[in-house]
C-alpha cells in the first residue's frame, strides 16, 4: 500500500432513517495522521455514520465505503463483562485483534488508571472505570484506524486529557482517528470536522 493511499474512503454516502435524511452525498478520505471529529446534534446520525464506517451496518444506506486498514471500533456499549475481571476482559476479548502478555495488559490498565483493579470483578467498578477498561484496548491496539463513538462518556477531566494525548500520539505516529464527541477537543493538533448538519466536509 502506498503511503498516499487512504485508510478509509467514503464516496457519496447517504442515509435515511425513519423518513428523515440524516446525511447525503458525504464524501471524504481518512489518511494517516488525520484526526476527525464528527459533529452533529443528538439524532443527527453520528453513531449511524460510525457503524457504517466500521462495517456493522451493511444495508439501508447508499454510497461506497472502502476500508484499507485494520480498524478498532469502540461503540456506545463497552463490551466489558461484569463477571470477568478487567484483566480477563482484555485477555479474553472477543475482538481477536491480538494476544497480549500479562505485562502488556497490566501496563494498559495502569495507563487508564486501573492499577490495583486488575483482578476485581468488573461489576464492582464504577461506570467510568467500566468505560476505562474498554479504553485500555486503545493502549493495546496496533490498528492504524480508530473509530470512537463518544469515547469521553463518563470519563473524568484528567482521563479526558490523557485520552486526548493518546489520540494525538496515535495520529502523530501514522494512525488516524474518527471520533464523535460533543466536547471540543483540547489538543494542539489539527482537528478536521465532519459536520452532519450540512452533510458536507467543512
Amino acid at each position: 500500500m502506498s503511503p498516499a493511499a487512504p485508510l478509509l474512503a467514503v464516496e457519496s454516502l447517504s442515509l435515511e432513517r425513519g423518513g428523515r435524511e440524516l446525511f447525503r452525498g458525504l464524501s471524504f478520505e481518512v489518511h494517516a495522521g488525520h484526526l476527525f471529529q464528527v459533529e452533529g446534534a443528538n439524532g443527527a446520525g453520528k453513531t449511524s455514520l460510525l457503524r457504517i464506517l466500521c462495517g456493522l451496518s451493511r444495508y439501508g444506506f447508499s454510497g461506497k465505503v472502502s476500508r484499507h486498514a485494520p480498524l478498532l471500533y469502540l461503540g456506545h456499549h463497552s463490551g466489558v463483562k461484569g463477571l470477568l475481571t478487567p484483566r480477563e476482559n482484555l485477555a479474553l476479548h472477543v475482538s481477536g485483534l491480538g494476544s497480549h502478555s500479562d505485562q502488556q495488559i497490566e501496563a494498559a490498565l495502569a495507563q487508564v488508571g486501573l492499577f490495583g483493579y486488575e483482578d476485581v470483578p468488573s461489576h464492582t467498578l464504577s461506570a467510568g472505570q467500566h468505560r476505562r477498561v474498554n479504553l485500555a484496548r486503545l493502549y493495546l491496539s496496533d490498528c492504524p484506524l480508530w473509530l470512537l463513538d463518544e469515547p469521553f462518556t463518563a470519563i473524568d477531566k484528567t482521563g479526558i486529557a490523557e485520552l486526548e494525548a493518546l489520540l494525538v500520539k496515535h495520529v502523530e505516529n501514522g494512525g488516524a482517528v474518527v471520533m464523535t464527541s460533543h466536547q471540543t477537543l483540547q489538543v494542539s493538533y489539527e482537528v478536521r470536522f465532519l459536520s452532519l448538519l450540512e452533510g458536507v466536509v467543512l
Binding site: G60, G75, H77, E88, S95, G98, Q104, D142
Partner: protein, 228 residues
C-alpha cells in the same frame, strides 16, 4: 503483538464462555433442575405404575432434554448483544464460522453434556431398563449437540428482539423434530433389544451436517440482528 490464529482464538472464546458460565453457576444448574422437576411431574400425571412409566420413559426423557435445551439456547448470544461484545465479535478479523462454533460448543458443554451425564439418574426415576441407559447417554450426547447448533440459529435471529423467547420456540422446534424422532427411537430400540447403531449413526450424520451448515446460518443471523 500478533493476532491469535483462528483455533487459538476459538479456544480463547471457549474459555471466556466457560468462565462466564462458571461465574454464574445458576445458569448451569437451571437446565438440570428443570430436568429433575419435569421428570418428577410425569409419575404424578401418568400414574406411578412402573411398567407404564418405563414404556414412556424414552420419549419423556428426550422431550425434557429438548425443552431444557430450548430454554437455555435463547441466552447464548443475549448478554453479548446487550453489552456490545457481539459488535466486537462481528468486527473481528477472525473467521466468524469458527467463533460461533466456539460459542455453541460452550453452550453444549454446560447444557447437553451435563444433561447426558446426569440422565441415567433420571432414567432410573422413570424405571427405564438399565440395558437402555447406555444408548440414552450416547443418543443425548449426539442429539443435544445438534440441538445446540440448531438453537443457535434461533438465538442469532432473535437476539435483537426484546422478548424473543416465544419466537425462538416457534422457529426452532420444527427443526428439533428429526432429532427427537431418532433420539427417542434409539432408546426404544435399546429397550426392545433391537440394534441401536443405525439410529446413532443417523444422529451422527445430523450432527456432521449441523456442524457444517449451522454456523453459517448463525453467523448470517447475527449480522442481520446487529444490523437491524
Amino acid at each position: 503483538m500478533t493476532a491469535p490464529g483462528p483455533f487459538a482464538f476459538c479456544l480463547r472464546l471457549l474459555r471466556r464462555q466457560l468462565l462466564l458460565a462458571v461465574r454464574r453457576p445458576i445458569e448451569i444448574g437451571n437446565p438440570l433442575l428443570f430436568f429433575a422437576m419435569v421428570v418428577a411431574l410425569f409419575p404424578l400425571g401418568l400414574g406411578p405404575a412402573p411398567g407404564q412409566l418405563a414404556s414412556f420413559a424414552p420419549g419423556i426423557l428426550w422431550i425434557i432434554a429438548l425443552l431444557s435445551n430450548l430454554l437455555t439456547s435463547d441466552a447464548v448470544f443475549r448478554s453479548d448483544f446487550d453489552d456490545g461484545s457481539l459488535e466486537q465479535l462481528l468486527l473481528s478479523p477472525q473467521p466468524l464460522y469458527l467463533s460461533v462454533l466456539a460459542y455453541i460448543a460452550a453452550h453444549w458443554l454446560i447444557t447437553g453434556l451435563l444433561l447426558a451425564l446426569v440422565s441415567p439418574l433420571f432414567a432410573l426415576m422413570l424405571n427405564l431398563p438399565s440395558a437402555a441407559i447406555g444408548s440414552l447417554v450416547a443418543s443425548l450426547l449426539l442429539g443435544t449437540a445438534v440441538l445446540s447448533l440448531l438453537g443457535g440459529i434461533g438465538a442469532a435471529l432473535t437476539v435483537g428482539l426484546k422478548r424473543g423467547g416465544m419466537l425462538i420456540s416457534l422457529l426452532i422446534l420444527p427443526l428439533y423434530m428429526p432429532v427427537l424422532i431418532f433420539g427417542s427411537a434409539a432408546v426404544k430400540a435399546a429397550v426392545t433389544g433391537a440394534p441401536v447403531g443405525p439410529y446413532l449413526a443417523l444422529l451422527g450424520a445430523m450432527l456432521s451436517l449441523a456442524i457444517a451448515l449451522a454456523p453459517m446460518a448463525i453467523a448470517a443471523g447475527l449480522r442481520i440482528s446487529i444490523d437491524a
